[in-house]
């Protein structure tokens, strides 16, 4: 099982939309896919109409008190299952800190179901914390949405610098992509050009800013299910092809 985290230090960059739509595309391709909603806000769970509640909360998951498989929920789509969010995940840092090897804990939590799925996508909360470090150790790749703005690019710099530090937890591939792109904005065009020259591993696919993505909250489903011909749906499909070919 390949583990891919949709991650960014910055919030509001399209992490959850990416995680849900990429997981859907993965499942559509025939890969058995698990989406783990690690964000206590539970937006990914909400998008898939699954109640953001896990029996025993984050504590039970981290301490492996019950089999993970019993907490999984099937989505409305073939090949796609969800490990829902739980509001107690806001204390996940503390729960991990109570374990002996906190940064390897999430990898151990996923181990029992590793043979059951081809891909696990983790939808992470913004910020950089002990949970983030556990995500880095568990992941084969971090998919980092970057809005073409200076602050967003700056957090990508911060992330790569952190991962390059000696003794950093995990060495996942960092695959960034331009998110919420508006080509009418000159700033976006200039920032994208600068990003291309920056030396970061930037994927070719760009996801445009679009109301179709915002409507995920209304439809509570991946974009491709209600707007299959939209630019956003096409972009997520191309993005998944690009990411899966890089793993």
């Amino acid at each position: 099982m390949k583990v891919i985290a949709s991650y960014s230090i910055k919030g509001g960059v399209g992490k959850t939309a990416a995680a849900v739509n990429l997981a859907y595309e993965s499942a559509l391709s025939g890969a058995r896919t698990l989406l783990w909603d690690l964000d206590p806000q539970g937006a990914a769970s909400h998008y898939l109409r699954v109640r953001a509640k896990v029996k025993g909360g984050g504590h039970a998951l981290v301490t492996a008190k019950a089999p993970l498989a019993q907490r999984l929920k099937g989505s409305d789509f073939p090949n796609l299952d969800l490990l829902p969010s739980d509001f107690s995940y806001r204390h996940l840092d503390l729960e991990l800190d109570d374990t002996r090897h906190p940064t390897t804990r999430l990898r151990k939590v996923l181990a029992p179901i590793a043979a059951d799925y081809d891909y696990a996508l983790l939808d992470c909360a913004p910020g950089i914390s002990l949970v983030s470090e556990a995500v880095f150790t568990a992941s084969d790749a971090l998919v980092v949405p970057v809005i073409p703005t200076t602050l967003s690019v700056r957090t990508l710099d911060q992330l790569t610098a952190f991962l390059a530090e000696p003794g950093a937890a995990g060495r996942p591939k960092v695959l960034s992509f331009a998110s919420m792109v508006d080509h009418r904005k000159r700033l976006h065009a200039e920032t994208l050009a600068a990003l291309a020259r920056s030396g970061h591993d930037v994927l070719a696919t760009q996801v445009p800013t679009a109301s179709d993505v915002e409507k995920m909250g209304i439809h509570r489903a991946p974009v491709a299910t209600y707007a299959p011909q939209s630019a956003s749906a096409q972009a997520y499909r191309a993005l998944w092809k690009e990411i899966s070919s890089r793993l």
């Binding site: 391709s29 025939g30 058995r32 898939l48 109640r51 929920k73 099937g74 059951d116 509570r220």
Partner: protein
């Protein structure tokens, strides 16, 4: 998954109404779908416990496509809790509506990989087809999340023969309670009974069943059956195997059709040869058994060139997959061999379409008729044996074939010619075919042990002979190409590489032979064959080979 049959006196609307009254539901628009179940000719997916379903809409949608689903064999039991993992179906969407025939027709991924591993060199083909009107009902919770699916499906065999209406209840992972409640409604309140799954029903309606073809010689003989009757059953089975594979071999769908024909021909020829002393006048020169054997030899020769080229292609592909250092050259040789194979296949089809082949099949059919009505059937001692029980005669044949293997093997020394090993290989094959023919009369555990001992020897002899023959044939191809004006140099380099590789394997097999044969002829292994023959004849006094 639960599969239930809607009785003819219960209207579909009553089922849907009962669901709507008890649960929050959403019905999708009704669809008519064409369902085609795919498998290899010899049911390789079925044997792994899988069913492969290709489904298309009957009206061509805006974006033409199909779904392909690999799922475990259908269960007709009660609701089982859904579990994630390999037991769960894998479904993908395919662009276009044509049926896939080879794994390369599928997008890369787990489904393609699983199918490719199961199929080997075989291709996919349709085994059953239905036309189904489907009404899908989603069972929803308060968030309008689907917690179970109920599919009400009215099917016909390819639009003709009615196959009834089924209700399929499909649980969603993590929502088992909802599925149990719906199951209770369908099975309890509405009284629906478990149904045969649609694929099995479609097969049955077409006069088939899953797994109804195997290349194995699985003829169930009875201990009381006469030798005459047993022989007819075996010859008939082998003839049916050839007939079943003719269309696939002509169409060149995959190489196994031809391979199965050749194996059936060899088995039949070997069986007739072994049993010749018991056929009496029928096996005299010019008699029908001798003529049939001769014609089977002709068919073996007529099918040989295509099969040899198939084996070369497989060898090339294995070398390419194994990271051979000359991939471009092997690719060039592959093109040359493919061209030659096209020519060889055209000749093969001409042979299969020839009057001689039709005459051969008539001879074969005649051989499956009762012998006792023909000339006197006397055994080696002059007594009439064809009407005696098959077991003791089979035991005699096995003992004799075993002695032949031991005699030929013991005559082989370090400097013996290759032909001596080839003769031993043929003797070992004849023994193996006898064991397969009378498998149903043999004591099972002893048979498995005897076959394991024999197989170890056959693998060694097969490796030696195949490498020797392939190297010689490739060397000849190389000479042909070298003298032709258009002889591609890359292909010649590949031939040099392959011949060297085959020669290394041949030498190794020759070096291993003594050890393998010593194991086969050790007293414990010989005693196994004696025990087997005693079991076959139900006679503990039978003496085996020394």
């Amino acid at each position: 998954m639960v599969c239930l049959l809607v009785p003819p006196d219960l209207a579909i609307e009553e089922v849907l109404g009962a669901l709507a009254r008890s649960r929050r539901c959403a019905e999708e628009p009704a669809r008519t779908v064409r369902q085609t179940w795919l498998d290899s000719f010899d049911w390789r997916l079925h044997r792994r416990g899988w069913t492969l379903l290709h489904e298309t809409e009957t009206h061509v949608p805006e974006v033409p496509g199909a779904t392909l689903e690999l799922l475990p064999h259908a269960s007709t039991g009660t609701t089982k809790p859904s579990q994630p993992g390999p037991g769960q179906p894998v479904r993908i969407w395919l662009p276009g509506q044509s049926l896939p025939t080879h794994p390369v027709d599928l997008p890369p991924g787990r489904l393609r990989q699983a199918i490719a591993e199961a199929l080997g060199v075989r291709c996919l083909g349709p085994v059953a087809g239905t036309l189904t009107v489907r009404r899908s009902v989603r069972i929803l919770n308060a968030d309008h999340k689907t917690v179970a699916w109920v599919l009400v499906e009215t099917s016909t065999l390819s639009g003709r023969l009615p196959l009834g209406t089924r209700v399929r209840l499909m649980p969603v992972l993590g929502y088992d309670r909802a599925a149990l409640e719906v199951s209770s409604l369908l099975e309890g309140d509405l009284g629906l009974q478990s149904a045969e799954d649609l694929c099995s029903a479609a097969l049955a309606a077409a006069g088939r069943r899953a797994g109804d073809y195997s290349s194995k010689l699985n003829v169930a003989l009875r201990a009381s059956q006469t030798f005459d009757s047993a022989m007819r059953a075996l010859l008939s089975h082998l003839m049916c195997t050839v007939e079943a594979n003719l269309a696939g071999a002509r169409s060149d769908l995959d190489p196994e059709f031809l391979h199965d024909i050749r194996v059936a021909v060899r088995r039949c020829r070997s069986l007739l040869g072994e049993a010749a002393p018991y056929f009496g006048d029928l096996a005299e020169p010019g008699g029908p058994i001798v003529r049939l054997r001769d014609e089977l030899a002709w068919l073996g020769e007529a099918t040989g060139p295509t099969r040899d080229l198939d084996v070369w292609l497989v060898t090339l592909d294995e070398e390419l997959a194994g990271g051979a250092p000359v991939p471009d050259e092997l690719g060039a040789l592959r093109e040359v061999i493919e061209e030659r194979r096209k020519v060889a296949h055209r000749r093969l089809v001409a042979a299969l379409d020839s009057p001689r082949f039709r005459e051969l099949m008539k001879l074969w059919a005649d051989a499956t008729k009762p012998y006792s009505t023909g000339p006197a059937n006397t055994g080696p001692a002059g007594d009439v044996v064809m009407t005696q029980p098959a077991g003791p005669i089979a035991a005699e044949l096995v003992i004799r074939a075993h002695r032949r293997v031991l005699r030929r093997g013991r005559a082989i020394a370090t400097g013996s010619p290759d032909a001596a090993l080839h003769d031993l290989r043929k003797a070992a094959k004849r023994l193996r075919y006898l064991l397969e023919s009378f498998e149903s009369l043999c004591p099972g555990q002893v048979l498995d042990k005897v076959v394991a001992e024999l197989k170890a020897l056959q693998d060694n002899l097969g490796e030696f002979q195949d490498c020797a023959v392939q190297a010689a044939s490739l060397a000849q191809l190389g000479r042909d190409l070298a003298t032709s004006t258009a002889g591609p140099s890359q292909a010649l380099i590949a031939i040099g590489y392959l011949v060297a590789s085959l020669e290394t394997r041949r030498v190794q097999a020759r070096a291993d032979f003594a050890k393998r044969f010593a194991s086969f002829e050790r007293p414990a292994a010989r005693q196994l064959v004696t025990s087997l023959a005693r079991g076959l004849a139900s006679d503990p006094r039978i003496k085996g080979a020394k």
